[in-house]
């Protein structure tokens, strides 16, 4: 018998009872919609982290003083391990490694910045003139300090947007003076705002001065905590990382069995770690929503079972009139597949709408995932088959004589 005719019979049977069909689909609709919404929240978070990381530059390397992850043994205060990185190391990297384009040390401190009767406690970083190029900062007004400023340890400062707004409300800070630890610094420029990082920290609450100035005039220390190195291209990142490691081992005169007393990491690795965290998050959200999809499937089975009992007489009529049991079984199976697939499609629509509304209402980034959509369609069809099979089997096994007598 033509399967298309059974599809038709099944659809007619569903249309005869629209209310029941709609209620049955509800579970699947909610399940699929929540899977899609949850996964798109997860993917959205992932994409925004990815974008942040890419905005820092995928060809970025971090060179950090001290060994990594040695159970805290080497990272105690006053330990020689944290003083292992020197300006000379960074200069050597800049000079000797061809795959390296730019280098800057980064010397971090917090400092009170004072302008007249206004003051602000912000992060002050000592960097080289190459810093904006490496970390992809752009200048909004004025200019970044120069190599000459670094060489002579000039008292110049470049302000992040947040600090500029707080210390110079309504006026242009460029050319004005900011006092840092009672030393006057000339503001040479203001940076363009970067907004919050993925952890919600304000990236603009920062000020930059030449590292020489910070070392000599603010901190009085030659310590370098971290150096940023920019490879000539994203593809050269790993080569650069290997060469930097090799060079630093030579310079630090480490024997073949001695561990590194510094750490070189690249942005790609960090991006991967961040991605992994977000994938776990997405998986978690998705599987919670998946449970509701499963519950929706059980709902379909429930209604189909009730429906088989309720429609016993109808089944009897169909069989008496000449429907084979296989036709009845196929009909019920198709009914549940149609229910779950239709529910699935409505769920996809709702899920997409939700994914579009969430950024507007909650401010979370979302990214509708094709994989989640395809997965939901397959899953809802599977739910229809899996949970429809038993009721269909039950309908097909009815005896027409008993079924016709059923009241």
């Amino acid at each position: 018998m033509n399967p298309l005719i059974i599809v038709r019979i099944a659809i007619r049977a569903l249309v005869r009872n629209k209310m029941r069909a709609a209620l049955t689909m509800l579970g699947i609709i909610i399940g699929v919609a929540s899977v899609i919404a949850m996964v798109s929240i997860g993917q959205g978070a992932q994409a925004s982290v990815q974008a942040q990381i890419e905005s820092m530059g995928t060809n970025l390397l971090f060179v950090r003083a001290g060994a990594q992850n040695l159970g805290g043994v080497r990272s105690g205060t006053g330990d020689t391990g944290t003083n292992t990185l020197t300006i000379e190391d960074l200069e050597a990297i800049r000079r000797e490694i061809p795959s390296v384009a730019m280098v800057t040390p980064s010397i971090n401190t917090r400092s009170q910045l004072v302008v007249g009767n206004l003051n602000w406690n912000g992060s002050l970083q000592g960097v080289s003139e190459e810093f904006p190029g490496i970390r992809k900062w752009s200048i909004q007004s004025g200019e970044f300090f120069t190599a000459a400023d670094v060489r002579i340890a000039a008292r110049v400062i470049v302000l992040g947007a947040t600090i500029a707004e707080n210390l110079f409300p309504g006026t242009d800070p460029v050319g004005q003076t900011v006092r840092v630890q009672n030393l006057p610094f000339r503001v040479s420029g203001v940076l363009a705002g970067k907004g919050e990082d993925p952890q919600g920290r304000d990236q603009d609450d920062i000020a930059f001065a030449p590292y020489t100035t910070v070392q000599k005039k603010v901190l009085g220390s030659t310590r370098v905590q971290i150096g940023f190195v920019s490879a000539i291209s994203p593809a050269a990142t790993y080569t650069a990382q290997a060469q930097v490691t090799e060079l630093l081992r030579q310079r630090h005169q480490l024997g073949p069995n001695e561990p590194n007393d510094f750490t070189v990491r690249n942005m790609t690795d960090i991006a991967e770690a961040a991605n992994e965290t977000n994938s776990i998050m997405t998986l978690l959200l998705g599987s919670i929503a998946g449970v509701s999809l499963l519950v929706g499937g059980i709902g379909i089975m429930n209604i189909m079972l009730v429906s088989v009992t309720e429609r016993t007489r109808e089944i009897g009529i169909r069989m008496a009139i000449g429907a084979r049991s296989s036709a009845v079984k196929t009909q019920f199976l198709i009914e549940s597949i149609v229910l779950s697939l239709t529910g699935g499609f409505i769920g996809i629509m709702l899920g997409i709408v939700a994914s579009l509304l969430i950024p507007m209402m909650l401010g979370w980034p979302t990214l509708v995932s094709t994989a989640a959509i395809i997965g939901s369609v397959i899953f809802s069809a599977a739910v229809g088959i899996f949970f429809g099979y038993y009721p269909a089997q039950k309908a097909a096994s009815l005896d027409p004589i008993d079924a016709l007598r059923y009241e």
Binding site: M1, R8, R16, R313, R318, G322, A323, R324, A327, L404
Partner: protein, 275 residues
């Protein structure tokens, strides 16, 4: 007991000329020593104890008997809803006594039309779609289904009610839809199980009129199960069951004529066309 009594009724009813079963008419149903035993727990129930019966093409036969007489079991077997425990059943030339469930479903689809006491129409489904149902299972195409269903509805006087749902139809009209449904696949026989049981007496006569007309004009073989003796009087032959056996099998020389009776009944205002 199993004698076949097909009486030439031409002399008795000169006004009924169209179809008269001949003595030599082809047998549609041949039952030979049919037994049916149900096992309920440890108890064996002999529902049928060796039934032999031949029904020829164009017959209109009423089957009577008290409940428990075996007539329902007999109808289930004749309708290929059930199989005999022993004995042979030849329907329209084919031995159907040992067919599988699916093969019997196909036989029911092609050769048997059912009319039930409770009408058994699909609810929330138009009269036309109800009538189309057996043709869906027979695999006919849409155009053919529409044409035949329309014709069948017209032949039972329901032209214009194609789109009505069962709950918009009176009992008599619903039973007529059911009769139309039983006709559409051109079955070898129509089995009517207490078709007037849920109807008032006037509507019952109307339904019997349709049966008599189908039998007379189209030569359709009809088996009518009833426990009402006066309904049985519309048939041309009566078989009475008792205790799983045929107790009586006789021809009715002068069956009631439903069309004539309807003419003589006082006309009633059409009760069923204003819903």
């Amino acid at each position: 007991m199993s004698a076949t009594l097909t009486v030439d009724q031409q002399e008795l009813h000169p006004n009924m000329p169209v179809f008269v079963p001949q003595r030599e008419a082809r047998p549609v149903i041949e039952l030979d020593h049919i037994h049916k035993v149900y096992t309920m727990g440890d108890v064996e129930v002999h529902a049928l104890r060796g039934i032999s019966l031949t029904i020829r093409e164009g017959e209109f036969i009423a089957i009577m008997g008290a409940s428990g007489s075996g007539k329902s079991t007999m109808m289930n077997i004749v309708g290929c809803l059930d199989r005999p425990t022993r004995g042979t059943y030849i329907l329209d030339g084919d031995n159907v006594s040992e067919l599988s469930k699916d093969a019997r479903a196909d036989i029911r689809c092609q050769k048997i039309g059912f009319v039930f006491q409770g009408f058994n129409l699909l609810s929330r489904t138009s009269a036309l779609e109800n009538v189309e149902l057996p043709m869906l299972y027979a695999g006919l195409d849409t155009a053919e289904r529409h044409r035949r269903a329309g014709e069948a509805l017209a032949s039972v006087g329901l032209e214009g009610r194609e789109d009505s749902h069962p709950n918009q139809l009176s009992g008599g009209q619903q039973q007529r839809v059911a009769i139309a449904r039983s006709l559409v696949n051109d079955p070898a026989l129509i089995l009517a199980d207490e078709p007037t049981g849920n109807l008032d007496s006037r509507t019952a006569i109307e339904v019997m009129e349709i049966f008599q007309r189908l039998n007379r004009e189209r030569g359709i073989t009809l088996i009518l199960v009833t426990h009402e003796p006066d309904i049985a009087q519309y048939a041309k032959r009566v078989v009475i069951f008792k205790d799983g056996k045929i107790k009586k099998d006789y021809a009715i020389d002068d069956p009631r004529d439903a069309a004539e009776e309807l003419r003589l009944l006082p006309p009633v205002e059409e009760e069923d066309d204003d819903d």
